[in-house]
Amino acid sequence: MKQIGDIESFDVEAREGTLYVRHNLLISDADAFIQQVLLSLKTFDQDALEVNLNELQRIDSIGVAALNHIRKKMGERGVAVHFIGGQEHVRKKMKLFSMDETIKLQSETRSTFFEALGEGFYGFVNDYLKSYLILVANVVYWSVSDIFRSKLQRKGEFYNQAVLIGVNAAGIVAAMAFIIGLVLALQSASQLRHFGADIYIVDLTVIAMMREMGPLITAILVAGRSGSAIAAELATMKVTSELDALKTMGLHPLRFVVIPKMHGSIITMPFLTFLANIMGIIGGIVIAYWYLDITPLVFINRMAESLTNRDILIGIFKSLVFASIIVVTGSFFGLTVKHGAEGVGRVTTNAVVASLSLVFVADSLLGLIFY
């Protein structure tokens, strides 16, 4: 096979109403060709221009497009351009690559601002809100109804999910909760010391951890770890037609894939949250001992007085709500994936952002309810 090698570039000459194009007009020179020709024809004042292609040795599709571009530009100035001559292969390519101007691309219609706003709102309600609420209803219903129907899931799947979502997150949750407990107590200690209210560090740390920080830290970490994983897993399954395959095997994708995750997270999240609470309180005990000379025994005694069952139960209840939000949101975004591999990345990001946003909204609402 012959290599193209170094080929001679184009040459143009405008003379007596005719433009002579010589040598080769290929992709590498197309841009320069257009600029040079338009520049040389800047003062062209006749009604018609002939482009002589007799001495053109080679042309490719981009070269043809360049010639047609010049015809279009000159046409806008009222100059009719005619291509004349040319070797057989040049004429063949001119014909093959010349565009039929009657062919119009089916472009997207542009909406006005208010139309776009309305369409956006309608799309949000119809595509997202409605589908999300339907998914919530389905997941809640099947989570309850499938508890004792183990045949609808793979053997051991609930255990796997409990380990993946809960047990594997225990280390990071414990570490982060301990640090948050430390920081919370440290910031409180410096303020409480001014008022001689050192002992209230116990109330502040314990109640904040139990009711607010414990469930929230756990939810943030689980949303980051498992929410994204759920979305990516389901999106990949959808893109690779695995969900369709489940359906055609007579298995309900949601019940087969999502419900075990729901069960796994519902069971493990309260334990993770409780672990976060304990570790946060330990952080508080460390700071109380170092900075305020409150011994662990005094701390625990005070904790028994200030902490109520209600505080513990509110935290646990929150963790159940957060677990549901994370699994449903991750699943929702995973199931709505579009456009292949890039879509998987996008829905994974969206799932984490939406999960965290919904967790914060739910936390605020529950905070108001249980105030």
């Binding site: 096979m1 012959k2 193209i4 490719d60 599709s61 981009i62 690559f97 691309l105 089916q106």
Partner: protein, 240 residues
Amino acid sequence: MNDFSVSLGDRTILSDISFDVYDKEITVILGRSGAGKSVLFKYLLGLFEIQKGTVVLLDKEISELEEDEQKELYLQLGVFYQNGGLLNSLTVGENIALPLEQHSDLSDELIAQIVKVKLNLVNLVDAYYLYPSQLSGGMLKRAALARAIVMDPVLLFCDEPGAGLDPLSLADLDELILNLRDQLGMSIVVVTHEVSSILRIADRVVFLDGGKVVFHGTIKEVFESDVQQVKVFFEKGRSI
């Protein structure tokens, strides 16, 4: 390709492969599944490091090319992948425009015109704004072909172009490939095992079996061949 061999550990995948691809011809590499066609295809494109032998493309030995030279060579090649290889996040128009945007200084207006021409060539103008996920199998193949030829390559490689297509779509695609040879003078290497397609488009055939070339010749010579594997392949393939 000369005395080319590939081994994976102790296992020989391809052994002493030698053949030439001729100017303005369609060379079909064929063989049964597992014969080593796809591996050979990837080595032909320089995607894997050559272990033994030489692969010369457009007078350049690909294992000796520097990165810049390799890039320059790739600009003269078009590659059509089995599954299309289109980027799912881009529309068909954007996919086809991509090589032009990256490797030329052409204006957006001109690039759009060229893309339109190439889509028109494969009868797919209406798919300009569609995403690959919105295309049928046949449309996807045609869009992939449009992208493969957008830079007017001298040499076009096609990996299983007909895989998954119905006979009519396959015939349409074959016709497009023949047009590329006849009207644009492209040299084309096609990896396939579709007998109907081979009979329609092939000028030359390279038959692989067990990682070796057992036959290399023109399509006419195929029917005169005494090589048992070739005879069986075409007899059984034609009866399907």
